[in-house]
């Protein structure tokens, strides 16, 4: 298992969020998730300007691997302010750099208090490990 950057928080459904200094947060999927999904071939990005709710419920984006399609949820509520257009042509960027260039969308968060419901890297690491069994 690859190292998990210490500044991230997670949903147990394998999305990560990095809270930026400017009131925005960047969202992606974990390295563990990309590995489990296998080769990614398509990412359906959310619309800029759309409003998203935190947590597992309504999918915000979709990643499709050769095997299957998976809904992506947002760890925080807010408004989508930017999407990673590069993924349209190179969805495999998520396979090669899940925590960096493979980010999926950014939101302007509306309630930072929601971060208390998220998992720390250590907590997420346990979830990912138990997934392997």
């Amino acid at each position: 298992m690859s190292d998990i950057p210490g500044d991230l928080l997670f949903l147990k459904s394998h999305e990560w969020v990095r809270i930026n200094d400017d009131g925005t947060a960047t969202v992606g999927i974990s390295d563990h998730a990309q590995e489990a999904l296998g080769d990614l071939v398509y990412v359906e990005l959310p619309e800029v300007g759309s409003t998203v709710e935190a947590g597992e419920g309504k999918g915000v984006a979709v990643v499709e691997s050769v095997k299957a399609a998976s809904d992506i949820y947002s760890p925080l509520s807010g408004e989508v302010v930017e999407v990673n257009e590069k993924l349209s042509d190179a969805p495999e960027t998520i396979n090669s750099d899940a925590y960096g260039d493979g980010w999926i969308f950014k939101i302007k968060y509306s309630n930072l208090g929601e971060k208390d419901d998220l998992l720390t890297p250590d907590e997420y690491s346990e979830v990912a490990e138990s997934d392997d069994h």
Partner: protein, 368 residues
């Protein structure tokens, strides 16, 4: 309980991601499924297909029995070693399974049937065989490796003893040979496969299958998982039992008319129902779809045509084409502009003839 092939530990040593496949613990990929796909298209790859079932039929009436059991005509098998792809139908013309029949001797034919259908296949075959006095013997002591790709045959032939290399090289397409492999291991070498590439399916005793796998690996044959096998066979236009056909589907509706032999005077199981079905007019057809837009066609998605709704059967991303393709079953007749409903949006697709890929190249009109 999950079954394991003799190669299970070998797959794990190679770092394979294992999945449950019809009750078998099988490798879906060892690393990148797409790279494994390309390895088979461009060079040579191998698949553990030991979960498939070898069934040997013996007795003087075996050919007569097979004339009744399967919809294709085993009389096409004139020379020992020849193989035939066929459907085994029930009385209503539904597909119980698709399988390959190998003619070995007049009193000895070998079947290779799907893993997931093993139990029902054996029960059906035994029931039908009783009246013919044919002995039905499952051969769980055999493993099976499919070696596929433009360089697959030469890589495997290089491992054979000098005196059998020429025989193996001369083996025709859809034919098999009982021979000997490295260090005297007994091999049943069939020039068949499920990827659209040339190659061999090799039946070998379980006690030697790991040894053969390691020889092939050392000869530069890339291990490939069932994930790549699925994208390869979809590109090659080959049906998957359970997804593209089953008992509720007749071969007319599954693009398998070419495997039906309505030869005079042969009363195979399902024939009357098939003829009736054709006389009544076949209402659904199986077509190929190509999507030029981004996204992935998946099993179960709704297909909208001028004649009504259909559905995606096998669908997925085609690594050789860099876009998504699928089989769909749609109402018969001129379909007009066809669209597929993906997460609430109607995406236009093209209806095409399949195979989508042959000999490693996209067929004309597929790439768009």
């Amino acid at each position: 309980m999950t079954d394991k092939t003799e190669l299970n530990a070998t797959h794990r040593e190679l770092g394979a991601r294992m999945v449950d496949f019809g009750g078998w613990d099988m490798p879906i990929a060892y690393g990148s499924q797409i790279e494994e796909h390309h390895a088979v298209r461009n060079d040579a790859g191998m698949f553990d297909v030991s979960h498939m079932t070898v069934v040997d039929l013996t007795g003087p009436s075996t050919r007569e029995f097979l004339r009744k059991l399967v919809a294709n005509n085993v009389d096409k098998l004139a020379k020992p070693g020849k193989a035939l792809y066929t459907c085994m139908l029930d009385e209503t013309g539904g597909v119980i399974d698709d399988l390959i029949v190998y003619f070995l001797r007049e009193d000895f034919f070998r079947l290779v049937v799907n893993a997931a259908t093993r139990v029902k296949d054996l029960a059906w075959i035994e029931k039908q065989a009783a009246a013919f006095g044919v002995s039905v013997r499952e051969r769980p002591e055999f493993g099976m490796i499919a070696v596929q790709g433009p360089n697959a045959r030469e890589k495997l032939i290089g491992l054979l003893p000098a005196d059998v290399q020429e025989k193996a090289r001369k083996l025709g397409k859809f034919a098999a040979l009982e021979t000997e492999g490295p260090d005297g291991m007994p091999l049943f070498l069939a020039r068949t496969g499920y990827t659209g590439e040339d190659g061999f399916e090799v039946v070998v005793p379980n006690t030697r299958v790991v040894e053969l796998w390691k020889h092939l690996h050392a000869a530069g044959v890339a291990p490939a998982g069932l994930g790549a096998r699925d994208t390869l066979r979809l590109e090659a236009g080959m049906n998957l039992y359970g997804q593209d056909m089953d008992e509720s589907v007749s071969p007319w509706e599954a693009a398998l008319a070419w495997t039906i032999s309505l030869d005079e005077g042969r009363d195979f199981i399902g024939r009357a129902a098939l003829e009736q079905h054709k006389a009544d007019g076949v209402k659904r057809v199986m077509v190929g779809l190509v999507m030029d837009e981004k996204g992935v066609l998946r099993h179960g998605q709704k297909v909208l045509t001028a004649n009504g709704e259909g559905e995606i059967l096998s669908g997925g991303f085609a690594p050789t084409l860099g876009k998504s393709i699928a089989f769909a079953r749609i109402p018969a007749g001129e379909p007009g502009d066809v669209r597929v409903e993906i997460r609430g949006r109607d995406i236009p697709v093209r209806v095409v003839k399949f195979p989508f890929v042959r000999d490693g190249k996209p067929m004309e009109g597929i790439a768009g």
